[in-house]
Amino acid sequence: MILKLKYFGMIAEAVGKENEEFECANSSVEELNIALKNKYAKLASMNYKIAVNQSFVEPTTLLKDNDEIALLPPFAGG
């Protein structure tokens, strides 16, 4: 399946892009996270939350083809 990844703030800076398509076998949020940490070593030391289709879900939630996955660093609004 294909996932649409979005990176923000210091995460986008660390991975060097704001979005990309990511192809992977069926996986959960936590499995995707491990795959991304393998791809981008800098993520290992960073603090972020993962949103799936603009909501926060359980780490064990299974992802579907075409899901929008966002890596969100600490918020700084206001």
């Binding site: 923000f8 949103a51 603009q54 909501s55 660093p73 600490p74 918020f75 700084a76 609004g77 206001g78």
Partner: protein, 147 residues
């Protein structure tokens, strides 16, 4: 699933005092309002390791942020007896001394306006996916994190 239209909270660049004045003026026809509370966030020229913050460059996960702002606003209406509640947040460059957040609550009585304005402001700081790059005078930067 019916999709309600979600308001765009973001303003490009700083929020101006004129925008705030216009917003206040628009509420003068609502003669059941007795109290307004307005929170304004202003970019501070903090000194960090001897360097001054010159501006914050705000970015956001727009679609999610607008949904979160809408949920915060709706929950404020559920919790408090409000006449109106408005939220505006900057995107892009906001210089030190300029305004980046405008929360505006109105109610018949003051307690509800105060409670709701503070609630909305705290919720925004905790829940809105908005990111801030603090740009120093020497053009280096660091990423702001809300406390």
């Amino acid at each position: 699933m019916s999709e309600k239209k979600i308001k765009n909270v973001f303003v490009e660049g700083p929020i101006t005092p004129e925008k705030i004045a216009n917003s206040i003026a628009h509420h003068q026809v609502k003669t059941n309002i007795g109290a307004h509370d307005i929170f304004l966030g202003q970019v501070r020229a903090d000194e960090i390791d001897g360097k001054l913050v010159a501006a914050i460059d705000y970015s956001a996960y727009d679609e999610m942020a607008n949904k979160v702002f809408d949920e915060i606003r709706e929950s404020a209406f559920e919790k408090y007896d409000l006449t109106c509640a408005h939220i505006y947040h900057s995107k892009g460059i906001v210089k030190a001394g300029e305004l980046c957040l405008f929360v505006f609550t109105s109610s018949k009585h003051r307690a509800m306006a105060f409670d709701a304005c503070r609630y909305i402001t705290e919720e925004i700081k905790a829940k809105a996916p908005v990111f801030g790059k603090e740009i120093f005078e020497d053009e280096t930067h660091q990423w702001k994190v809300n406390k």
